[in-house]
């Protein structure tokens, strides 16, 4: 059961509710990758989700804000957008109109 300030503990099926699920940034709602792996704290009884692994980043359980059809997390200083930012800076930003909301 993830321990976060806002949500009470829930029993989850790691494979059904967590793995490969979409991550959403709580701050602005943008999509931040998929959950590639789940780190469990097996010492606790029952076992507790310690962190979510996505790409190169590790999201500790405290950052999980909501678990629904997607998992919302508090991102703050984590760099979940590394690859997208790279592509943005090297490719997309060079095309005029990249920063415009479509009219």
């Amino acid at each position: 059961m993830p321990r976060t300030p806002d949500t009470s503990g829930r029993v989850l099926h790691a494979q059904l509710h967590l793995l490969d699920r979409q991550l959403i940034d709580q701050a602005d709602g943008h999509l931040a990758g998929k959950i590639d792996d789940v780190e469990l704290d097996l010492d606790a009884d029952p076992p507790v989700v310690a962190a979510l692994i996505t790409g190169r980043e590790r999201i500790t359980a405290r950052r999980i804000a909501a678990i629904d059809t997607a998992v919302t997390v508090v991102v703050e200083d984590l760099d979940l957008d590394y690859y997208d930012n790279w592509v943005e800076n090297h490719v997309i930003a060079k095309i005029p109109g990249a920063g415009d909301a479509t009219e």
Binding site: L31, Y83, I92, A98, G99, T102
Partner: protein
Amino acid sequence: MKKVLGVTLGILTAIGGFVDIGDLVTNALVGARFGLHLAWVVIVGVIGICLYAEMCGRVVAMSGRPVFDLIRERLGPRTGLLTLVASFLVTLLTLIAEIGGVALAFELASGVNYLLWMPLAAFAVWLVIWRVKFSRLEQVFGLMGLLLVVFAVALFKLGPDWGELLHQATRPHPIGHEDWSTYAYFAIALFGAAMTPYEVFFFSSGGVEEKWTRRDLVTARSNVFVGFPLGGILSLAIMGCTAVLFLPAGIQVGTLGQVTLPVAVALGKIGLAIVLIGVFAATFGAALETALSCGYTIAQYRGWQWGKLVRPREASRFHVVMIVCIVLAMLTLLTSVDPVLVTEYSVVFAAMALPLTYLPILIVANDPDYVGKETNGPLRNAFGLVYLALLVVASLAAIPLMIITKGGQ
């Protein structure tokens, strides 16, 4: 008003998705060779796509997530990857056919070689995706594509023997020089054209772009039940036109010009002008949809930010995928490969990918995790399974038949 505009998503998806270059070519071709003896496949295809598109729409409205997003979750990484690869490749092939179709439409109108129109068409597709708002895109091409109803008008004007047409439609067997292998082959082609994968990806992702919630369930459903049957009727009209005009004359359809000729015969230059605008709108709209779908599939599988609902720089990888796909499509076409031939193959390959595309939809639509209380009832599931079985048969038979008939000859 929003309800009316909401229906246009279905119409675009249907016209652009149901009557794209694949449908134009396949229905015209089949009509000229088999009359209406394969018409039943179109009807079966419409029911199938309605069934599954409704499931997609429901999943989006209830969960806020598009179907492809959930494929990896429910099928596991390996099957999910297989689905991705198959769907993506088929969609890319379809994109090539659509851009080719746009160029052919311009060629037919102007007499200027289609290869010269190609880069312009590809650039235009990209530019519209880059700059134009999703809803505007739908409305414009959805309404313009409705001009294809001119095929139905032309069919009436040609004054066919309706009794004869009905006679053909109720007798599902090959005629003339055709045999059961070509009959089955083109049944599969029609199936592929009617239920082609990108239609459900686009409809599903479009629902997110339009920010559907459970309140939009009605909109989603009306889109499906108005849009796709309309597309089906137009497909039958296209088939009917060539059945009436070409079958008796021994003319086989191999070019876009021949597809549109019945309309000119029936309605003259005005009819031709209308049908060319309609063909342009349908193929250009479908090019937009397939390009977006190429982006949707990969981005949703990987969990990247996607969609036209954010600025391009906020979904950089999504846009890069689409740019690469459009460029690849253009380069393929610049090799002078016949776009109509590409189209004919794309629908058969689409048929092969169908089971992989549709199985996850059936699974997800039954999952209360995503659709809450709105899971499939037993009747829907029964139909869904019947269709899945049909799709598996079609998918397995596609390659052997392609070999036996040498690509439908």
